[in-house]
Symmetry: C2
Subunit: 246 residues, 2 copies
């Protein structure tokens, strides 16, 4: 398998990405296409791996605080080039730790969507007490969603859990302010009735259920998903700091 | 000051409420009106405090899982009687650890709203790393809010922080998926432009800012606020369990 890797993006620059590639090459047989400043990447990657990768030079990187729309014009950027490698069939997948909005926009516009799917979603893995992950989507691609969007996120989350995580009957929950069917805002109440068709739909779930590990896929809109993600990081970070103080 | 106390409500029954009343009486000079089953309360409250409180007998309690609309009919319930004491001027305030929806509905319908305020909000205190609290509202009263509702929550939060918490210039933030003005869903973007009139409005804040202690009042709708609250409790609870395991 050939995978394009945005070697420059991310909060900590190319070093951890290249280190990750080296570790992955120890365990898996695949061909990384390292997209980025070739001289920097060659410097960081131990010589013994050089023959197992392809270097795709790119001098432009979309910064984390730049606009996602900017990405569409910057055809020499690492993300643009990575997506183009996938579009042309040279690779089978793309990995980027960089600007998620830029990756999302480029993937949507250059690669397109699955037929019938109205909006893409960003999925994230949340840790649980059971030492397995729960999937939460959308965590940032769509700030305004209607009930049908949420229904399609449930559908995509279900397929992802089945195919990628090998969970045969993933339990799907709708994030709400209470477990009862009567709970929810107007959009989630409508989404609830659409999702009732799913065999694997278990109904509404609450914020705390994300970490219990009893639900495999948790559906919400990208505005709430992003707030949930950052709130969770904030709590964990604060507890960490408080424990260190003691 | 006379305060009506719903002595029966709450997840753990009357015991911790009565214990709290006894501790408060040690520190403060006030008259609790203990609303609930008189014989149970008298049994729980040490004799030395009996002369400092009033007992208001009530045999009915709204259970945590009953419907909030049910509360409006149950005129003998502890919450109903507590609210009536306030309405008639016998007390200056009401405290209940019971059914928040019932308390909210009864307060709104029996006491009314401040003139001009369209919707009440539930405010909560969130802990921060700076050992002071941040206020978050609404955390559950309104699942569907428009921009003007959010604007009014900011206004009420500001007044609450000034008058009740003695914070002269409380910093007010709008919960969003990023700090930039361009971030937000359609409702919060509109709310942002309304809030720009406030001197104390500092713009959008993210989930993690709730716990940093740099923002005094954080505004969101009751659907998201409830999810944020339960997500935070879920993370803290999970970390607690993981630490105990080790």
């Amino acid at each position: 398998m050939r995978i394009a890797i945005d070697a420059m993006g991310g909060d900590f620059g190319p070093a951890p990405i290249i280190e990750g590639v080296a570790r992955a090459l120890e365990k898996k047989d695949f061909t990384p296409y390292l997209v980025g400043k070739e001289e920097i990447i060659k410097e960081l990657l131990p010589k013994k791996y050089h023959s197992r990768v392809r270097f795709i030079n790119s001098d432009d990187v979309i910064g984390m605080h730049e606009s996602a729309t900017e990405a569409l014009k910057r055809k020499e950027s690492t993300i643009y080039k990575s997506i183009e490698l996938l579009k042309s069939g040279e690779v089978e997948g793309v990995v980027s730790a960089g600007h998620s909005g830029a990756s999302m926009s480029l993937a949507t516009l250059r690669l397109g969507r699955i037929k019938g799917i109205k909006r893409p979603a960003i999925v994230t893995f949340m840790p649980t007490i059971k030492k397995k992950y729960s999937l939460v989507l959308d965590v940032g691609a769509n700030v305004d969603c209607d009930a049908y969007n949420l229904y399609q996120f449930a559908l995509m989350g279900e397929v992802y859990a089945k195919v990628v995580l090998n969970t045969p009957n993933p339990k799907i929950g709708l994030l709400s302010n209470g477990e009862e069917k009567s709970k929810g805002n107007s959009v989630t109440k409508e989404a609830y009735t659409l999702m009732e068709n799913f065999d694997n739909f278990i109904g509404n779930v609450e914020g705390g259920d994300i970490f219990k590990g009893d639900v495999d896929v948790i559906v919400t809109d990208g505005f709430i998903g992003n707030i949930v993600l950052k709130t969770s990081e904030g709590v964990a970070d604060t507890i960490g700091k408080l424990l260190k103080k003691k």
